[in-house]
């Protein structure tokens, strides 16, 4: 409206001004950073259900980001997960829960090249446990429109996992998957930007959980996910709202909705508060069996299901229908020009009664997890 309201005279002067060199910031949406960062973080995660302390995880990690010659940026993360505790062998059964002690080492590297009208990022990820090894490669790119108001995103990735469970349920099993992503980000107003993306993953191989009773999942899985994000800045408060929604559907018959809202509020003296809420709900996988046990044999044997033919079946809580809520609160502080720190507290709760669609998945205990993250970073 403003543009058409201006007469040719007013527009003429502005257009002439825009023809002058160097009056507009160039390539700002995708400028290579001019400083390096290194940080250490720690995650302490505890999970429980009524009458069962499930697993506890401590994950220290090292994160870094550094510009390399010219338009290249390298960033990455090294993480060690130290996991211990108990996990139910079927449903949320307490008796016979498997005790475990595990250590995972993972590295993740991304090399990004900033271009005049976008960027290309190469990624490599590696994760190693005594019974599971995963290696993944990816390439992602962005292409900006001439006015930088529209950005197209694309990505391709592949992962190759090798599974050798300590109980020798299977040996040298593999899982291979490939994913593709296509999306578009659009600047809507000076304070609104939105992104829509479609992700597709396909994989085949060993998807079962070797430590769960009767677990035998399809050897193929395809997932399609549609994600929409909308960031809005409030000039009045200086805060920013980050809203996201994801719909996903997979060949296991699981459909899910995820909605998340994060509100970033800078306050004085370098402090920033970020409360966040997330709700997730999924329907049950077609091969998930409710805890409807055999009247004579009792759990974990199921009523009406013959195990003789080794049917496609899972009693894993993760494949049931449920809803889950996360409440998070993060405080960050710029301590000095070089140093920054943050602290995050989160609580996650999963209950079958919180689902909004899918069949009923009765008889499962709620799952609660609390985690606390602390991080300190230095920039130079």
């Amino acid at each position: 409206m403003a543009a058409t309201e201006s007469t040719p005279t007013g527009a003429l002067v502005l257009m002439a001004a825009l023809a002058l060199p160097g009056l507009l910031p160039s390539a700002r949406a995708e400028s290579a950073p001019d400083s390096s960062m290194i940080g250490i973080r720690n995650l302490h995660y505890r999970e429980h259900q009524p009458n069962l302390e499930r697993i506890t995880v401590n994950s220290p990690s090292l994160v870094f980001m550094t510009p390399l010659a010219g338009e290249w940026t390298l960033n990455g993360e090294l993480v060690i997960d130290n996991l211990s505790g108990a996990s139910p062998r079927y449903h949320t059964a307490i008796s016979g829960a498997s005790n475990m002690q595990d250590k995972r080492t993972a590295a993740d590297l991304r090399l990004k090249r900033t271009l005049s009208n976008g960027s290309v990022t190469l990624g490599a990820a590696y994760s190693n446990e005594n019974d599971y090894r995963s290696a993944a490669l990816s390439i992602q790119g962005t292409v900006d429109s001439g006015d930088r108001n529209t950005t197209l995103l694309w990505g391709l990735g592949g992962a190759n996992d090798k599974i050798n469970p300590v109980n020798l349920a299977v040996r040298d099993e593999r899982k291979r998957s490939a994913d593709a992503l296509l999306g578009v980000a659009q600047v809507l107003t000076p304070v609104d930007v939105a992104q829509l993306s479609l992700g597709y993953t396909t994989g085949h191989g060993y998807y079962s959980d070797p430590y769960k009773t009767f677990d035998n999942r399809p050897r193929e899985r395809r997932q399609t996910a549609l994600t929409a994000k909308w960031n809005h800045h409030f000039n009045a408060s200086g805060g920013s709202s980050r809203l996201s929604y994801r719909y996903a559907s997979d060949s296991y018959g699981v459909r899910s909705h995820t909605i998340g809202e994060e509100y970033v509020q800078p306050i004085s003296e370098g402090w920033t508060l970020t409360p966040a809420l997330r709700y997730y709900t999924q329907s049950a996988a077609w091969f998930y069996a409710d805890p409807n046990y055999h009247p004579i044999l009792g759990p974990p044997f199921l009523a009406g299901i013959s195990l003789r033919t080794r049917p496609i079946l899972s009693l894993d809580q993760r494949l049931a229908a449920f809803g889950a809520l996360t409440v998070e609160f993060k405080v960050s502080k710029q301590l000095t020009p070089e140093w920054a720190a943050d602290l995050k507290l989160a609580r996650y709760e999963q209950r079958s009664s919180w689902r909004i669609f899918g069949g009923s998945s009765p008889g499962l205990a709620p799952l609660t997890a609390d985690w606390i993250e602390v991080g300190i970073y230095r920039r130079w």
Partner: protein, 317 residues
Amino acid sequence: MVTPAVSQTYGGDGLIRFAFEAMAGPCEITLAAIDDARARHLANLAIAEVRRIEHKYSRYRADSVVSQINTWAGVAWTACDAETEALFGYADALYAASGGLFDISSGVLRRAWDFHAQRIPTDAALASLRKLIGWTRAERESGRIRLPMIGMEIDFGGFGKEYAADRAAALLLEQNAIHGLVNLAGDIRVLGSKPDGSPWRLGIRDPRNPTGTIADIEVSGGALATSGDYERFFEANGRRYCHILDPRSGMPVDYWRSVSVLAPLAIAAGSHATIVMLKQAAGKAYLDDTGLPYLAVDYDGHCHRRSVQPVARMSLS
């Protein structure tokens, strides 16, 4: 030549201010003070850019591009680079938009108007100088320019300062300095809101009181530039003779005391303000046509305005 110092002060409001002298006036770059060393680095980048432009185009420097062109007027071609040619292109647009009133070759009139001696030139003196005015008569070819008559001169005084403010702002924005402003002797380019998200409150100078303001406006982006009859002037015979001269008559304009315009770029805001000063009574219609917010004070002290938001204070002295 000694480079003038940059003084650095901290506000209690999370801001850091870098004051320096350039373009014949007090200048200031204000940035968020979260990262001190970085703010200083950014301010130095911006100040260096302002100084580069001043150096390259000042008519007070014998080695500037402008002085070269003027020295060889009527005699020879002077080579000019892409930036200089782009500024010529902008001068063409201003000439067209103002119906020939904004003419970068009208500076010759300063030879007749001596604001120190407070002398009103004779009609004959003005008539002979008017013959040397005419930007459209400049001969231009790719990469070079020649003024056709000895004695002709051009200068970028009409928009050089605003151009420098926008160039400095672009450098700061490229470095993601999104909270701050560039103030070159009253022509202000805002990078973005204050660090807390609130707008900047900019005062518009009272044209009849050097230390007073007539209005405060709140701005979170864009630029505010003012053109007024108070920068250089003298009074004689009960009227004010200011430095903004009509190239057709050679006489100072006297319809507006000051014109302030808000526009996306400082160079556009400043050019509009100056064109309105030059258009005199017809300037009001021009201003309304631009669709931009403005505040103009006429010869009588009456305010004419189109607001961007409720103006906080509008008391006239």
